[in-house]
């Protein structure tokens, strides 16, 4: 099994170590965090679930496409599953590249593709105690 999905809190320092290379002059990090907003129904946390085997395979594909499109980039990512409280990191992506443009572009590609095609779902838990599924354009 690939390591992209985990139930454990995410370790950004470890991700940075995975992509570190003397040949890379630029590193970008994207962190997605669970957001609390009273306008949004006062979310206190999100329960993440996935179609594990397919999600791992889709993430393999996303990362392979990024490597093909920006040769020389080094990529690492983790997506959390299970309950993630507001303020905690739910997804972390680190990209190292020789130059900054590739690092920014590849990082954006990976998060955008993840949200578009990787079979992961979120169920928001609200302060009032109810729960609701989040649609594709939420969060």
């Amino acid at each position: 099994m690939c390591p992209w999905l985990t139930h454990d809190p995410l370790d950004v320092t470890a991700l940075l170590a995975e992509v570190a290379s003397e040949g890379c002059g630029a590193t970008t990090v994207f962190l997605g965090t669970v957001r609390r907003s009273e306008d949004d129904g006062d979310v206190v946390g999100i329960e993440y679930s996935s179609y594990d085997a397919m999600a791992e395979a889709e993430l393999d594909g996303v990362l392979a496409e990024a490597r093909a499109r920006w040769p020389g980039v080094r990529l690492a990512m983790r997506h959390r599953l299970g309950y993630v409280a507001t303020g905690e990191v739910s997804v972390a992506i680190a990209v190292a590249a020789p130059h900054r443009n590739e690092a920014f572009d590849a990082c954006r590609f990976v998060i955008d593709q993840t949200k578009e095609r990787v079979p992961v779902w979120k169920k928001e838990r609200l302060a009032v105690g109810t729960e609701r599924w989040v649609g594709p354009h939420g969060g």
Partner: protein, 79 residues
């Protein structure tokens, strides 16, 4: 033939389970499988859901074979 149907997230809740076996005639497609599930479960899933066959997204006209894993994928919302 028999195929394994997986449902996730809101679809699993709507169907009341995440996994079931379905009997289909030879040559049945993804669309036929969806129709069969909707017949058997009171339309717990939409008429044209996103579907994956053996862990890859598949079109509604994809022909199924014995033992396929057919997954009903609600709108994804990762990140």
């Amino acid at each position: 033939m028999r195929v394994k149907v997986l449902a996730f997230a809101s679809y699993a809740e709507a169907l009341g389970c995440g996994e079931l076996e379905v009997e289909l005639p030879a040559g049945a497609t993804v669309a036929d499988c969806v129709a069969e599930i909707r017949r058997g479960t009171g339309a717990g899933v939409p008429p044209a859901p996103l579907v994956a066959v053996n862990r890859r997204y598949a079109r509604a006209d994809r022909v199924l074979v014995e033992g396929d894993e057919v997954a009903f994928i609600p709108p994804v919302a990762g990140g």
